[in-house]
Symmetry: C2
Subunit: 310 residues, 2 copies
Amino acid sequence: MFDKLEFLLALAREQHFGRAAESCGVTQPTLSAGLKQLEQSLGVLLVNRGSRFQGFTPEGQRVLEWARRIVGDTRAMRQEVSALRHGLTGRLRIAAIPTALTTVAALTTPYRAKHPDVQFTVLSRTSTQILTLLENLEIDAGLTYLDNEPLGRVNAVPLYRETYRLLTAADAPLGNRDQVSWAELSQVPLCLLTPDTQTRRIIDGLLRGANGGCHPTLESDSMILLFAHVRTGRWASIIPAKIAEALGPIDTIRTIPIVEPDAIHTIGLVLPAREPMTALNAALAAEARRITTSPAHDARRATFGTIAVN
Amino acid sequence: MFDKLEFLLALAREQHFGRAAESCGVTQPTLSAGLKQLEQSLGVLLVNRGSRFQGFTPEGQRVLEWARRIVGDTRAMRQEVSALRHGLTGRLRIAAIPTALTTVAALTTPYRAKHPDVQFTVLSRTSTQILTLLENLEIDAGLTYLDNEPLGRVNAVPLYRETYRLLTAADAPLGNRDQVSWAELSQVPLCLLTPDTQTRRIIDGLLRGANGGCHPTLESDSMILLFAHVRTGRWASIIPAKIAEALGPIDTIRTIPIVEPDAIHTIGLVLPAREPMTALNAALAAEARRITTSPAHDARRATFGTIAVN
DNA sequence: GCGTTGTGATAGAATATTTCTATCAACCTG
DNA sequence: CAGGTTGATAGAAATATTCTATCACAACGC
């Protein structure tokens, strides 16, 4: 019965009988039979079929929700029992929006110090992908915007408010400033993240609000690529302050606070809204709360945000 | 796996391998093997054994909590799917404290009008038993005090505030009054519920507060027996107003409001705190909320509480 | 129009698993 | 120490599950 519910989850994830079967480690007929059996046991058709997978029936969608819950709880139970015996072990799967990736280290480092047997998988995903992965139990936790998109049924721990910096060569236009305003940014050739990211959409909004336009000369989904371009001295970019901190001081390159709107969106840890959390997630949430409530951290990171730059 | 968790629940309920097996419809060796397998699959001992059942290990107690959750959710899923196909069907198991038994009719009657295929089982239990039964998934809902004992993780819908009446013959002492006070009740020979009921403990408290003593000349766990005694004209009893209403007008017997403290404890519907409720329970909660918010009901029942008597 | 590819259902054999009956060992009780 | 109760164990029988191989159907390309 459990296995059948897992089949259903796999099918929802893969949208394909064959791949779902593979992902469950069984053959396709086994998965087919399992689903048919689940349908029979519940007395409803769950899957619309017709020579190929055609989505779920309305009943199937409801059952899918329950299946997520039940399978999630079962995994949480196993994990908790294992934690009682061997301490925390296993793998914590985390996905973060690109701009929050560096913040992951602030969680994983103290976590690992306390629970050295836990392994991590960290993925870079967009905010919408993160919510989907969370829904499907494909990740345990996410780092993303808390106040921007409909979060659904999740548990959130705020971590920090995002601020932005202008990343530019010291000898370029604006390069000598101590701070710049959003309105001034139209003067320089910008390279930005692609518009499918929430960060880019936020930056677009801020630029439009200030001077009515956003025409980046280069777009990429890779922060490293943006940085490489700025490094040539001919481009500038707008990056979240957290990323600037992680880059550290770099010769010839400056990161200049952009003021007025200062910080708008909150970024935080997002966990499935399950009443007793999994043991691994409970420890992660504790770590996140420690960061949130640590005044030292707040002072260093949020208030005196400007790190030494060349 | 599911079956194994059900075995565990049955064992917790019956505290006995043989009876638990019977309650699951399997033989004792099957249940024994199932539990052993569950232990192996989780890698922990769950049950303390030694020639007889000796309770659960700490890990077993945690797993038990999860099992309640998972099994409950699975049943809820099945029920919801069945409701989608055939409308609401099945059996709703309700337990109520004796004094709230008559209120059950106010829920079941409109419920049945809307969902004629649902069957009911109504049990009379003490308030503590009700909470245990609810925990163990042995009942779907309870009617009990909401503000008196630690309720645990449940969902509560208040229904009414309990008030008390003196049940006595018209020609007995106090029989001609329109209302009496708690202090005056020491004048008459009382027959009351046994002290294991919460209602009795509340009445004790009220009597003690008023005149410093409570010495009922007769105790019983049966409301009908109390009534039979009062009927002889030689006894009096203190009964909740709701019961008085249900009895209706009776020759020679009066039900007289007892005033000052008037109503103290709230009685309501108690359901397991499960996020999406079972379909049957959701309908029951809706019915309960209808009663709570109906001003007609409040007026008729609570304010003009005195029904015509003799 | 006709082969090709991709997708899921079906049949039958091989394999696991579950469950039962029967019996045993430990323990308590008088 | 007999008698009753309780849970564990062994082995056979019954069920379920899973696999391999194959089929049926639709979409697509030439």
